[in-house]
Each structure stands twice: as structure tokens, then as C-alpha cells.
């Protein structure tokens, strides 16, 4: 294992953004090391095995998919910047997806990776809104969403200038919020634009073998470029002196130094590493439970509130054989208005996202060996975090049933007994799982609602990348790492 004690750049976290930043810096000759607390890479988008079966975390679909030859989009930029050949990601496109609203999904909008499909659906289902929808689309296309110094604007307000039907408004917001928004009820318009392009104007794809393909490619590039990484070795504290990150204290107690530091672990989580550093007990890593009160206060001021549960059901056949059709992703909501907010209860099963990874177009003769049925719903971190173990397990089982029952209203009916007979195994993650594996406060997958576009922190040589820098999705995360490495380090020579 490498054990140098000084680097040009230290990167905290081996998620998509940290790896991408690392590849750029190592490629251009910087001595870089990534410090990762866990023993796997990928961060929010990783994978795990139970009984030899591999499960993806996070990734339903990679957004921002464009076909070969389409240039100037985030996917093309990141492939170029990281010197990755398109084929290395082995992306397979979605078949079709759907936004289904109403108690049984009475109003639906289908969409595919061809934007004309969604446009035609809006024209048929909302004929009096289509002109406004086209104006909104034109605005999205010309908006500079990657500007590092744009002023925040309410997306709801901007969208309402073009759309007057609240149902259509909510139906468009639902997928964009579920796939990236750290803000309740509304989004910043720049974030709305990023997501609208990523989901609707571009599209969904996935490698047959899932997110581990993407992670493997990034790791290999990083290794080839000469980057170092230390696994099971998080950063416990940042020692601040004279407004700079002077040294990093690792989980091992060892101290290392770096000219510059990039943190991908989130803005409040990073601030907690250097605020009042002398008060942090030198104990085993714990996020909220063990955090001193002074740090909890700082962190909770900007920590996100939105968390999720996800149920995963492994089936002994392709979901289409059960009669569930070929939809890849289904965004559902049964209520009069779509309520994207932290629920009062443990889970809000009224809305959610169904993902059937089998329904990507993997090509002739290619299919996932088992059926997979995943459902994601909004959840309340506090109501999961402090449960005794027995109650936690019991609540997981109870909500598993409720979440699935809710989601199945939006799929063709399948007899309970038939479904039960097809189930091989199940798993479920909760807000508690998210915090345990990502370190995000409050189980907030999408981080803080406050984004830091320029990646600056209170310390002059410490920068943010990833979720809290504000480019969204997997492709966005990688671009965030690239942008921050370019902007703060490589452009400065």
C-alpha cells in the first residue's frame, strides 16, 4: 500500500466525481491520492453482493445518454476529458419510460430517448399546453446551465410562465426531482435545465452489467494515469491553519499534507471536518450520532432533508413474462398535487419511481439473468435513524409491503400468488443505509439544497466537487470532478 505523506492533491471520496477529478489531475502529472473510507469505490453509485448476487446501489439508469455522433453534450464532454472510448461504457438504451399520475395512473406521458415521443404525448394529452411546452423546451435548450456563477431562480416560477396546467407542470417536475433534486417542492431553474436535458432531451442508458462497468473503467483510467488511492482510509479531520487546509488526519490517525484538497463528501460534511477541529473526539467514525453538538448545528443548517427507501425484488423470470410490459422507468404519483418533500411518516408511498433494469435494450440474445423490480419512495431520515434494531427490521418489512403495493397500482395487474411464486429474494435500503455507506447527513442522497457552483469553501486550498457542487446525475458527478480539477488546479498551471 502507498504511504506517501505529501501529495500535490488529496481527494476525499472515491465516488464518480472524485475518481473523475483524480483521472484529470493524474493524467497531467499531479501526484494525487484518493482517500476512501469504504472498501468499494463508486460512492452513491456503487454495488454490493449478497450471497453471490450483485446489486447496484443508486443507479436506475445513467442519464444524459446521447447516440454516437451527437456532440457538445455532457456525455461527449466527459468521454473526451477522461480519454474514455464510448464503447468502454457499453451503454444500452432504455426501451421506454412513463410518467403516470392519478390513483391508477390515469394520465400518463410516455417518453423514450427520442424527445419527439414526449412532445407528441404532451400534444395529445395536453393540447392547450403544447405551445407553452415548446417555448419551455426552447428556453431549456438555450439556457447556460453549466455557468459557474448563475443566480438562483425558482424553476416553478419560470415553468408557470409557459405552462398553465398544474397537472402537466407536476408531471414534468416529478422525474426531474426524483432523479436529482435536493430541494423540496421546487428546484433552482439551472438544476431544472440540467435535469430536463439529462432525462428528456438526452435519455437513459445502462451497461448490461450495471454501474460496476462505469466504475471499473474509471478505476482503470485512474490507475493507468498513475493515481494512488487508499481504501478503508477516510479523512477524519482537516487541520485548518491560516485559512488553509494544512493537513489531513486519516482514520488511521496518520497525518498527511497536500498542496490542494478536493472533497466530494458534501458541503456540510466537509465543513464538519474542519470546523472546531480540536473538539472532535479521536474516535471511530460516526456521522450524526457521534457528532459534537457544535458541529451538528453547523451541519444541520445546510444539510439536505430528502431521503429515500428502495425495495429490490429479484424474480426468477423477466418482468415482462409476468405481464409487466417493457417500461424501463415509471415515475408515479397518486395525489392531486405531487408533493416532493420529506414526509412526516417513515415513508411516503403516494409517489415514487419504479425501475425494471431488464427493460433496457441489451441487444439480441442479451438479457439480465434474473428479473429485477426496484421501487424508490421518499422517506424521513429521523424516523429511521434512531430505531432499535428489532423495530428497524420490523418497520422495513412492513414498509416493503406498502411500497410494493403502492407501486403495483401503476403496472398491469399481476396476481399476488403469481408474483410471490416468482420472487427469489428481496432487499431494501433505508435512509439509515444511505448515511452508513455514503456519509451523507440525514441520508440525503442529493446532498444539501445549497449548491456551491464554484466549489469554494472557507479554506483557500479546499474545493468541493460532486453532489454539493451542483451538477447532477452520474454524468454530472463526473463532469463536476472534471470541472473543479480544471478550474481550480489545472488552469492555474
Amino acid at each position: 500500500m502507498n504511504s506517501a505523506s505529501h501529495y500535490d492533491v488529496a481527494i476525499i471520496g472515491a465516488g464518480m466525481s472524485g475518481l473523475a477529478a483524480g483521472i484529470r489531475l493524474a493524467h497531467f502529472g499531479k501526484k494525487v491520492c484518493i482517500f476512501e473510507r469504504h472498501n468499494t469505490v463508486g460512492g452513491l453509485n456503487s454495488f454490493y453482493s449478497i450471497a453471490g448476487r450483485k446489486f447496484d446501489v443508486g443507479l436506475h439508469a445513467m442519464t444524459n445518454y446521447v447516440r454516437p455522433g451527437v456532440k457538445g453534450t455532457p456525455l461527449g464532454k466527459l468521454l473526451r476529458q477522461l480519454r474514455i472510448e464510448r464503447d468502454e461504457f457499453a451503454l444500452c438504451e432504455q426501451k421506454q419510460s412513463r410518467i403516470a399520475f392519478g390513483p391508477r395512473g390515469e394520465t400518463s406521458l410516455h417518453f423514450t430517448n427520442d424527445f419527439a415521443v414526449l412532445e407528441a404525448e404532451v400534444a395529445v394529452k395536453f393540447p392547450d399546453q403544447i405551445d407553452g411546452f415548446r417555448r419551455l423546451t426552447a428556453l431549456v435548450k438555450t439556457y447556460d446551465d453549466v455557468s459557474l456563477d448563475a443566480q438562483p431562480v425558482s424553476a416553478r416560477q419560470v415553468v408557470r410562465k409557459h405552462l398553465t396546467d398544474p397537472l402537466l407542470e407536476d408531471m414534468l417536475f416529478c422525474p426531474l426531482m426524483y432523479y436529482g433534486s435536493a430541494t423540496e417542492h421546487d428546484m433552482e431553474f439551472g438544476q431544472f435545465v440540467i435535469m430536463f436535458k439529462a432525462l428528456f432531451l438526452e435519455g437513459f442508458a445502462r451497461p448490461l452489467e450495471g454501474v460496476r462497468v462505469v466504475v471499473r473503467v474509471l478505476l482503470e483510467k485512474y490507475r493507468q494515469a498513475g493515481g494512488e488511492r487508499r481504501m478503508k482510509c477516510g479523512v477524519q479531520r482537516i487541520l485548518a491553519r491560516e485559512g488553509r487546509a494544512a493537513a489531513l488526519v486519516l482514520d488511521t490517525g496518520e497525518e498527511i499534507t497536500a498542496d490542494q484538497v478536493i472533497s466530494s463528501i458534501g458541503a456540510p460534511e466537509t465543513a464538519a471536518l474542519f470546523a472546531a477541529d480540536s473538539q472532535i473526539p479521536n474516535s471511530e467514525f460516526q456521522i450524526t450520532p457521534g457528532l459534537p453538538a457544535s458541529l451538528s448545528a453547523i451541519a444541520s443548517a445546510t444539510a439536505g432533508r430528502l431521503s429515500f427507501v428502495e425495495t429490490i425484488t429479484i424474480l426468477n423470470r423477466q418482468p415482462a413474462e409476468l405481464g409487466w410490459g417493457s417500461d424501463t422507468i415509471i415515475f408515479f404519483n397518486d395525489s392531486a398535487r405531487f408533493d416532493y418533500a420529506r414526509p412526516d411518516a417513515q415513508v411516503d408511498p403516494r409517489s415514487g419511481v419504479i425501475c425494471i433494469p431488464n427493460n433496457f435494450d441489451y441487444g439480441p440474445g442479451q438479457a439480465l439473468p434474473e428479473g429485477i423490480f426496484r421501487v424508490t419512495c421518499l422517506a424521513n431520515y429521523d424516523r429511521w435513524a434512531r430505531l432499535p434494531e428489532a423495530a428497524y427490521q420490523a418497520d422495513k418489512q412492513r414498509w416493503f409491503v406498502d411500497v410494493q403495493r403502492s407501486a403495483r397500482r401503476f403496472l398491469p395487474a399481476v396476481d399476488d400468488a403469481v408474483l410471490a411464486a416468482a420472487v427469489v429474494t428481496t432487499d431494501m435500503f433505508t435512509p439509515r443505509t444511505i448515511t452508513k455507506f455514503t456519509g451523507h447527513l440525514n441520508g440525503a442522497i442529493y446532498g444539501s439544497p445549497v449548491k456551491h457552483r464554484q466549489g469554494r469553501t472557507a479554506l483557500a486550498n479546499l474545493y468541493l466537487c460532486g453532489t454539493d457542487q451542483g451538477f447532477l446525475g452520474i454524468v454530472g458527478a463526473m463532469l463536476s470532478g472534471i470541472s473543479m480539477a480544471n478550474y481550480h488546479i489545472l488552469q492555474k498551471g
Binding site: R80, R83, E85, I482, N486
Partner: protein, 87 residues
């Protein structure tokens, strides 16, 4: 180094950073941006690769010298030759 060799150096770099571009008909007197899909991130990469591979420094104020192959050759050839003379 001749100006033609210098153009080839730049083209080789572009081929590596933008493998999805067709470089068979690049006109030396036309701005690269007008015939290829290159953005500011790509131009930064041309500069970075010149430094990494050849030890050539291009200050930010002089990036526009790399606008076309011809202007790149005018600007870079003396730099390459000065470097060769030094070593």
C-alpha cells in the same frame, strides 16, 4: 521543427482528445472551432497536452494563437525550435 511538423503535433493532440472528430480534411487557414466541435474545455486540453508531451508553455493570454492550424504553427514552431536549441 518545420511548420508542417508543428501542425501534425497539434493534429495528433486533437486526435487524442477528440477521437470522435474527423480530422482528414481540416483546413489549416480556417479556425478550428469553425470546422470542428471543440469547446473551451478542449482548447484547455490542447494547451495542457502541449505542456505534458513537449514542455511547451502557452500562457492563457495567448490561447487565441491556437485558433487555426496555421496560426498554431506560426506561434508554436519558434517555441519548439527554441526548446530544441536549449537541450
Amino acid at each position: 521543427m518545420t511548420k508542417d511538423e508543428c501542425k501534425k503535433v497539434v493534429l495528433d493532440i486533437i486526435a487524442d482528445i477528440a477521437p470522435d472528430e474527423d480530422l482528414s480534411n481540416v483546413k489549416p487557414d480556417v479556425r478550428l472551432r469553425d470546422q470542428l466541435q471543440l469547446d473551451s474545455m478542449d482548447f484547455l486540453d490542447i494547451v495542457m497536452e502541449l505542456r505534458k508531451r513537449h514542455g511547451i508553455e502557452v500562457p492563457e493570454a495567448e490561447y487565441q494563437q491556437l485558433a487555426s492550424l496555421d496560426s498554431s504553427a506560426e506561434y508554436l514552431t519558434p517555441k519548439f525550435n527554441a526548446l530544441a536549441a536549449k537541450s
